[in-house]
């Protein structure tokens, strides 16, 4: 499907404190990633771009269990992120769950 493309561009939003300490405008960024087009790879790229992000989404090297990744409105767990495929124009939200009264 994407095999001929060398990169795709996606939009990433950071919510509920995940944006803390990151040099972002409006708590979001458009980012180009190369293959593999997976959520796992996107997060690796983001962690390289924003070293502070690591502190917000990992504890002792592991993803915090209350991290929520939303791709086009569908939630996935960090554990399922590895193979979740991304496409050009996808909207990704990184946020914490555990809020809401």
């Amino acid at each position: 499907m994407h095999s001929n493309q060398s990169y795709i561009e996606v939009n990433v939003k950071f919510l509920f404190g995940l944006e803390k300490g990151l040099p972002l405008k409006n708590r979001q960024t458009n980012i180009k990633i190369s293959q593999p087009f997976t959520v796992q790879h996107l997060i690796e790229v983001l962690e390289k771009m924003y070293p502070k992000l690591k502190e917000n989404i990992r504890y002792k090297g592991e993803f915090v269990p209350y991290l929520n990744i939303v791709v086009n409105g569908c939630e996935i767990l960090p554990i399922q992120a590895r193979n979740k495929e991304l496409r050009e124009g996808d909207q990704i939200v990184l946020m914490y769950v555990g809020v809401g009264g």
Binding site: L15, F16, E75, M95, V97, G100
Partner: protein, 619 residues
């Protein structure tokens, strides 16, 4: 004295008709069956009220219970539970408030308080350690909650006492009036303020100085407490998110997945959500952080409106449910207006969820031409009209003009209006819906339908589906999910720890962690199976209460909008819960619970749960 630790072993009974005040011992066999707060509230309410009791009559009781964790070294467990038959749902109602009132009651020597009868004139109850008095409250009647609290403190010359109070809305018996606790928290849901008002009880003031609460196994308890403190310290939601934003992070979280109730749930994407996001609210309003008794999380905030019409107003910062009900649901995108609406509710004693949902219903009636300006005392009740929102709220609290009608709640309003308005009357069993989508979570839709309270988000929880741990788009196995989550929420409200830390103890199903906590604190010797039986017993007793009061399968129903109109746009477009899906889930859930096809607990279920001592057949 109980043989179990962490209890005072006593409850206070106050008969307002006769003025007689008595102390009773809590029986150990009752504690073994019901443990505390939610369990004991359900037990006493079922046992002591007659079938068909009028919620606002002398025979209804208003029951307050703490839990065994309240007032101990256990963190984030400050809650007081309040129980009664609801004037809004005509069924079982429990509502919980944080603050310091619960711990203070225990320090005064009581695990709970049962208020019965009706006083001839307005009174307040003064619990001064073991010395109890009913005092004249005539001069406080008609005053706001803050005015009353401050006046009582001044008159008693006791600036540090803890007070639960009703406002003018409770005095006037508004169906969704609340009880304000410590000025910072509300036992909001189900109209318990009206039950208190009907008894002519304006307030309960407590001074407790005898903290002699002991835990059973100090070493084990400390181990649990220390590890919980460490978890709270290292958890970003609890250590940073909630102290900075309260629960308002949910606004953008829900909007980003297309499940934020907007304009009376006509859609679930709010185009102005950014304006009422957690960040905007914090930037515009935040002043300082407050905490409940022994809670390191500190999710409660004080705020100040700094600009616009209400500039200078200092008040409590709204939490998510209020941002939903007065914000997106009414089409309002100004945090200052939401804070003002929250303030009106806190001071007059109204539930912000029911008030916002009721006004959103009026706004949709106005939009559809069913109600016109002349029907609404000249108010142009358009979605997004901030002045209309505040004016309607003030009228509800004063039970004045159209406010009397709006104060009935969406169920009764739609019954009176007819014209198909029931389709968008957003309540379950008469209780207006909290800010978590029915259509966007299949499990929540079943959970809401079978919740004893109705439209409450505290019996079933949305987080396991919202996190992706369970697929929110399928009905598969949701009966088991609802069963497991409701077991943990009923135990949470029985032990009385806060919903904010429920994820640290276990959200889906009871575990060893629950067992270790209660055994270390109280000295029980429960295992997980025992605890499951207790959870099942309490859930069934609440169900029996509702069945006794005339509810059954017909009441386990969702608002028609959610069963017939798919979400029209956004990331969750197309989702809804058709009646056939709900029925399929209900059949499976009833079977799992040991209820018949009509949702009535079987005699065998009652017997197996040892409820046959108080539940008589037929129910």
């Amino acid at each position: 004295m109980s043989k179990y630790s962490a209890y005072c072993g006593k409850l206070l009974r106050v008969n307002l008709t006769s003025g007689v005040i008595t102390e009773e011992n809590l029986q150990d066999d009752v504690l073994e069956k019901y443990i505390g707060c939610n369990g004991l509230g359900a037990y006493y309410l079922y046992k002591e009220t007659p079938k068909g009791v009028d919620p606002l009559g002398e025979d209804n009781k208003l029951i307050f219970f703490t839990g065994p964790l309240t007032g101990t070294i256990f963190p984030s467990a400050p809650k007081i539970g309040i129980f009664s038959k609801s004037p809004l749902t005509n069924g079982f109602m429990d509502s919980y408030a944080g603050g310091h009132f619960g711990a203070e009651l225990k320090f005064a020597g009581y695990d709970g308080l049962i208020v019965e009868g009706k006083s001839e004139k307005p009174v307040y109850l003064w619990i001064n350690d073991g010395h109890i008095e009913l005092c004249d409250a005539s001069k406080y009647w008609g005053k706001s909650t803050t005015e009353t609290r401050e006046a009582i403190k001044k008159d008693l010359e006791e600036p540090l006492i803890r007070i639960a109070v009703i406002g003018p809305a409770g005095e006037k018996l508004v169906n969704y009036s609340c009880i304000m606790v410590d000025g910072t928290h509300a036992a909001g849901r189900g109209g318990l303020g009206a039950v208190m008002g009907a008894k002519n009880l304006k307030a309960i003031a407590i001074k407790g100085t005898k903290n002699s609460i002991k835990v059973a196994n100090k070493e084990k308890a400390m181990e649990i407490v220390e590890s919980l403190f460490e978890e709270i310290r290292t958890n970003k939601v609890l250590s940073t998110g909630l102290p900075t934003y309260g629960t308002t992070g949910a606004t953008m979280a829900n909007n980003s997945t297309g499940i934020l109730g907007t304009r009376n749930w006509q859609t679930e994407v709010f185009e102005n959500a950014e304006n009422i996001s957690n960040v905007e609210l914090a930037d515009k309003l935040f002043e300082k952080t407050l905490s409940c008794y022994q809670c390191p999380v500190r999710c409660v905030h004080y705020c100040k409106i700094k600009e616009g019409k209400y500039s200078g107003l200092e008040t409590m910062k709204p939490q998510y449910e209020t941002v939903y009900s007065f914000g997106s649901l009414c089409g309002i995108s100004d945090p200052n207006v939401i804070a003002k609406a929250n303030h009106v509710c806190n001071e007059t004693g109204l539930d912000t969820i029911s008030a916002g949902v009721s006004i959103a219903f009026i706004m949709e009636c106005f939009e559809k031409g069913i109600l016109k300006e002349e029907d609404l005392d000249g108010i142009k009740a358009e979605f997004g009209n901030s002045d209309a929102l505040i004016e309607l709220l003030e009228k509800v609290a004063a039970k004045e003009g159209i406010g009397e009608f709006v104060g009935l709640g969406t169920k009764i309003m739609s019954e009176k209006l007819g014209q198909g308005t029931h389709k968008f009357a957003i309540n379950i069993k008469g209780l207006e819906l909290a800010g978590h989508s029915v259509r966007g979570y299949k499990g929540m839709s079943l959970g809401y339908a079978v919740s004893p309270r109705g439209g409450s988000h505290q019996d079933m929880r949305h987080i396991p589906e919202r996190s992706g741990q369970f697929d929110r788009r399928t009905i598969k196995d949701k009966e088991q999910l609802v069963h497991d989550i409701m077991s943990t929420t009923v135990i949470r409200d029985t032990f009385t720890y806060c919903a904010m830390i429920e994820g640290n103890i276990g959200r889906v199903g009871l575990s060893d962690k629950h067992v270790k906590i209660i055994n270390a604190i109280c000295g029980f010797e429960f295992d997980v199976e025992d605890l499951q039986k207790i959870a099942d017993r309490i859930i069934n007793l609440e169900r029996c209460f509702n069945v006794r009061e005339g509810m059954d399968r017909k009441d386990d129903i969702l608002p028609e909008r959610f069963m017939t109109e798919p979400i029209p746009e956004g990331p969750s477009a197309g989702m809804y819960t058709p009646k056939e899906e709900l029925d399929e889930m209900l059949d499976k859930y009833y079977e799992l619970r040991g209820w018949d096809q009509n949702g009535v607990p079987l005699a065998e279920t009652i017997r197996n749960l040892n409820l046959d001592d108080i539940v008589k057949q037929p129910i």
